[in-house]
């Protein structure tokens, strides 16, 4: 989630809160098709198709036209909030507000010393590593990271240099959404999904996007792990309800005192 959100935010300037809606829509699409066909391959393909069409429509019909108007980022944020509200409530209307559980046959656990790991958790870790490694390799081999960095730094100059920014934007949105879909599927097989479950994970991902201003996957992963550890420590030592408060207190302090992010390029004063 953090990799997808950070790339989308840094390349397209959209603080894509609707990412939470896309996350839930993908998971619900998988759950629905699985309940109809009981075939994982068909269900995953269906979820991929729904997610891709959805994000394509969002970019082409909403974000891109607003971006062409040279609107500031707050307007894109408002549009994204509106989309999120519409998506989540549409899903609640069509499928209900209750948790959608996937009845899977993956049960059992492993005990290593004091640590108990369920099979589902191992699958989550394995797929998480495979997905992030694949994205890293693709970005390295295709040199897309350089293109994304260029658009992130200056979209107009990137256009002058012959980069098809509209195509690259779409690429980032679709890749980010596919990563969100993977995260959604992995979470759904563990605890299920409901229409509201996309917001918290998206907000956590957004904190990473602000803390890390560079398009560097390893840094994003490191910050995502650090944030998750912090959130779990807060949950362990205080209680679960302080988790969001502490996370966003860090975000607020960074915004106020280091707007360019903790790890960033040196920026001119007027760009932050």
């Amino acid at each position: 989630m953090a990799i997808g959100f950070t790339y989308i935010f840094r390349v397209t300037r959209v603080f894509h809160i609707a990412h939470g809606g896309v996350y839930v829509a993908g998971a619900v699409a998988l759950w629905w098709m699985l309940s109809k066909t009981n075939n994982w391959a068909v269900a995953v393909l269906f979820a991929i198709t729904v997610t891709a069409i959805m994000i394509w429509l969002i970019e082409k019909a909403i974000y891109l036209p607003i971006n062409k108007r040279q609107s500031n980022q707050s307007i894109l944020l408002v549009a994204s909030l509106g989309l999120y509200v519409a998506i989540v409530n549409t899903l609640a209307l069509l499928f209900g507000n209750e948790d959608k559980i996937i009845g899977n046959s993956i049960s059992g656990s492993f005990v290593i010393g004091n640590i108990i790991l369920t099979k589902v958790q191992l699958i989550q870790v394995a797929f998480g590593i495979i997905a992030t490694a694949t994205v890293t390799v693709i970005l390295k081999l295709s040199k897309s990271n350089l293109t994304f960095q260029s658009i992130s730094d200056n979209e107009s100059i990137s256009k002058v240099l012959g980069i098809n920014t509209e195509k690259e934007r779409l690429k980032v949105f679709i890749s980010g959404s596919m990563l969100a879909l993977i995260a959604a599927i992995l979470k759904t097989i563990e605890v299920g999904v409901n229409p509201q479950s996309g917001m918290n994970i998206t907000l956590s991902a957004s904190v990473v996007a602000i803390l890390v201003s560079r398009l560097n996957i390893l840094l994003i992963i490191a910050f995502a792990i650090a944030l998750t550890l912090l959130q779990n420590s807060v949950e362990w030592f205080l209680n679960a309800q302080w988790k969001d408060g502490i996370t966003f207190l860090i975000l607020l302090l960074v915004i106020l005192f280091r707007t360019e992010g903790i790890i960033s390029y040196n920026l001119r004063k007027d760009t932050v």
Binding site: F15, A61, I62, P65, I66, R69, Q70, S71, N72, Q73, S74, I75, L77, V78, A79, L81, G82, L83, Y84, V85, A86, I87, V88, N89, T90, A92, L93, L203, I210, N239, Q241, W242, D244, G245, I246, T247, F248, L249, L251, L252, I255, L256, T259, V272
Partner: protein
């Protein structure tokens, strides 16, 4: 009849909230995602002073306003440090921090249990405890706030606030301090939101943190953007659309559960369409871009 009066009271509360957000968004250009914080501060300050200290409404209200003004100073600090998108982001963070604090500070706010037994206001021994009397009471507050803004929009101070919104450097070149005008705007906005919070707390006689969430802040901002920022009529129209939309949906004979989701779907889509095609909103004066 009581149901219609209840709708009217809720409409009045949202008109006050929308007018308070319009002060920040429309007059100062500060796109806030934390207006529910001031609404909550007003409601909690009223509830706590009434239930814990035995204040009457008329003593609780100034305490609520004062607490809102103190919170507004924190927001002014944020507004002085960051601008535009990062201001919106900072307010989003403040909103989530506020919810966490209210939810967890059980000794003061009673957390998720909420505060019960908030007494109704009294005027000359007359207890305001029916939907009809509350509709009248809320209506008077709405009228007072509208009349204030009719006057305020014509004042030189308001013109300076708007000038700060349009061009901070120009205001600086006139020898004025833009931060000062932002601070005034945020304080005024917090007072109106605090009044709405105090009315809400005494009307429902029970409050809990779920009424002051990020969703509520998004809703208040949406009401202003849909109705149109910068004028008095815009926020009132936005609030009327939001409150009357489910009543309209009832004519389509949609079940209650569906109507609630339908309202939010239509409102979300309306917000997207307004931002996409009519950034000034329905009756707006200030182009948010």
């Amino acid at each position: 009849m009581n149901y219609l009066l209840h709708i009217l009271v809720i409409l009045e509360i949202y008109i006050l909230l929308a007018l308070s957000a319009n002060q920040k968004v429309g007059l100062s250009g500060l796109l806030t995602l934390a207006q529910a914080v001031f609404y909550g501060v007003g409601a909690y300050a009223t509830a706590i002073t009434i239930t814990k200290f035995g204040f009457t409404y008329w003593l609780a209200l100034p305490s609520a306003i004062l607490t809102c003004m103190l919170s507004a100073l924190l927001f002014s600090f944020v507004a002085g440090k960051v601008r535009e998108f990062y201001f919106s982001l900072a307010t989003l963070a403040l909103q989530i921090i506020f919810f966490s604090v209210v939810y967890n500070w059980i000794s003061v706010t009673r957390g998720s249990y909420g505060i019960t037994g908030i007494s109704n206001p009294e005027i000359s021994g007359l207890n305001i405890n029916t939907p009809g009397s509350f509709a009248l009471f809320g209506g008077v507050w709405v009228l007072v706030v509208i009349l204030f803004y009719v006057w305020f929009l014509k004042t030189p101070l308001c013109r300076l606030i708007q000038a700060t919104r349009d061009d901070e450097i120009e205001v600086l070149s006139l020898g004025k301090n833009p931060k000062y005008y932002k601070k005034i705007s945020i304080i005024l906005s917090s007072i109106v939101a605090g009044i709405a919070g105090s009315i809400y707390a005494t009307y429902t006689t029970y409050i809990d943190p779920t009424s002051f969430t990020l969703d509520e802040s998004i809703l208040i901002l949406s009401i202003v953007l849909i109705g149109g920022a910068g004028r008095i009529i815009g926020p009132i129209t936005g609030a009327a659309i939001y409150i009357l939309l489910p009543e309209f949906l009832k004519f389509l004979q949609l079940p209650e559960g569906i109507a609630a989701n339908m309202r939010m779907i239509l409102f979300g889509l309306l917000l997207v369409l307004i931002v996409r095609f009519k950034p000034k909103g329905i009756f707006g004066k200030y182009l948010i871009q």
